[in-house]
Amino acid sequence: MNGSMRAIAATGATGLVAWAAAGALAHDRPPRLGAMSAQGGVRLLSPESGTAVLSAGRLLPGESVAGTVRLANTGDAPGMLELDATGVQDTPGAGGGRMSAALVMRVDDVTAAPVTVFNGPLAGLSGARLGRLDAGAARRYRVVATLPDSGPFGADNALQGAATRLDLSWHAEPLPPAATPTPSPPPVEAPPPRVERPAEVLTLRIPWQRVMLTRGITLSGRCDRRCRLTFTAVLETAPRGGGAGRVVMRGRVFRVAGSRRMLRPGAERWVRLRLTPQAVRRMRSVLLVRGRVAVRVDARVRSSLGAATVRRRIVIVTSRRAARHRAAR
């Protein structure tokens, strides 16, 4: 072989190597997701499409609907799996409530022992990272939609008859094969899960009542778990129009006896908070001058989740003013 032949051969070999090198990237097919099965927890909807996993038409507060979907990566490259809720369409309830604003979504990887990979409001289900899905691997996810119970006295009634429709978009971005060699089970990289704060444990309600006549405030409390309540209060002026009031008495508004209560989980308990004589006198003097006085009640709640303060402010008006106010409403 002479020099020119070597040059030609070298050119051809270089071309082959370059082409092969470029083609090597192309050979790695992107991850392809195949929905291998989909079944509804309540029932299978839309059998003609077989894709909807959530279907419930008569949820009540506190109830959930769940479905599972199995996803397989039929490509040659590993992918990072993400989930979006898209195409959300609300049918408002009789009271105008929007289901999409109330729903809490949870996604569990149930391929093996269940691992929660997302837990939060429906609005937060955007780009939720579910973890790595290797080439040829399959995972099974359970999607749970819960309508939380906001509390008694018809707190959720605006949602009666409400409905929402949504699509779940599962998508995977290819990952370099060598980047993470054996990452299973999937890393949990969901948005921060919804942490139940102590303030959400307590449902506190102060109904309309005659405060000056009874020299006390009756309220109802309900804790989702065992909790200890400590009530304190501040007396304020109550300017019309909702402006900030001026504190007229701080501390010793309630008698100590009865201002601390223990609540059993789930049981609603009525609490009677008796006003001190000093508080009654102060309220009466403010009422005489202004016709209105506010009581800011702070309920310090302690439970296994920690401590927090729930605040309620009630405005007390003279009975004649109250009658006028009700009539105006």
Binding site: M5, L33, A52, S55, R58, L59, P152
Partner: protein, 197 residues
């Protein structure tokens, strides 16, 4: 040999030029859509229907009339969640029988209450058999059974005040005891002269 090598090099060059290398997989996103999921809440209408004289499908008459109205008009209008009741002028105590009727669509317990419980001329709300006075605050009904709501009114101040109490009708059934399935029927009652607004 030389010719063969030249041909081979030409072929390689041609292939390399004509077949562009495919792009890296990094630019692709695989997607699967789980479409058409739907979640809805229950409605009290699935368990209980409310009728006024104008909406009663059975054509029942004899519904309570708005007090002191001239010409006389039924106190309640509308159906189900849109039903409202204008009770008219009430300076003295009295009763209004069959302000509205209710019909169970399944086996349920219906409980009537007033909000606020006191402080308005409407003192009681009772559920009774059709055509009967009195009644009870809570009744258990089988599917298809009908009842009427009777209201009791008490004398108030007579100070030309329009009160706006709300009649709450709460539905429970075996296995469910919450208060989500409830109707809130707005009412007005005029404590003054005439039928009021």
């Amino acid at each position: 040999v030389r010719n063969r090598l030249v041909r081979l090099a030409a072929i390689v060059a041609a292939v390399a030029l004509l077949v562009p290398p495919a792009r890296s997989g990094a630019s692709f996103t695989a997607q699967h859509l789980t479409a058409g999921n739907s979640v809805g809440t229950d409605s009290v209408r699935n368990y209980l229907r409310l009728y006024s004289q104008g909406s009663d499908p059975a054509g029942l008459t004899g519904y309570a009339v708005k007090s002191l109205s001239s010409p006389a008009v039924p106190a309640a209008t509308g159906v189900d969640g849109s039903l409202t009741a204008q009770l008219g002028g009430w300076k003295n105590s009295g009763t209004m029988n069959r302000v509205l009727t209710l019909e169970a669509r399944s086996a349920i317990t219906v409980t009537a209450s007033l909000s606020p419980a006191a402080g308005t001329p409407v003192a009681s709300a009772l559920i009774a058999d059709i055509g009967s006075a009195g009644g009870a605050t809570s009744v258990t009904l089988a599917a298809g059974q009908k009842r009427q709501v009777n209201l009791g009114l008490v004398k108030f101040g007579g100070n030309n005040v329009l009160y706006r109490p709300v009649l709450m009708l709460n539905v429970t059934y075996a296995g469910y005891s919450g208060d989500f399935l409830s109707y809130a029927v707005p009412m007005t009652v005029w404590d003054g002269n005439g039928a009021g607004p």
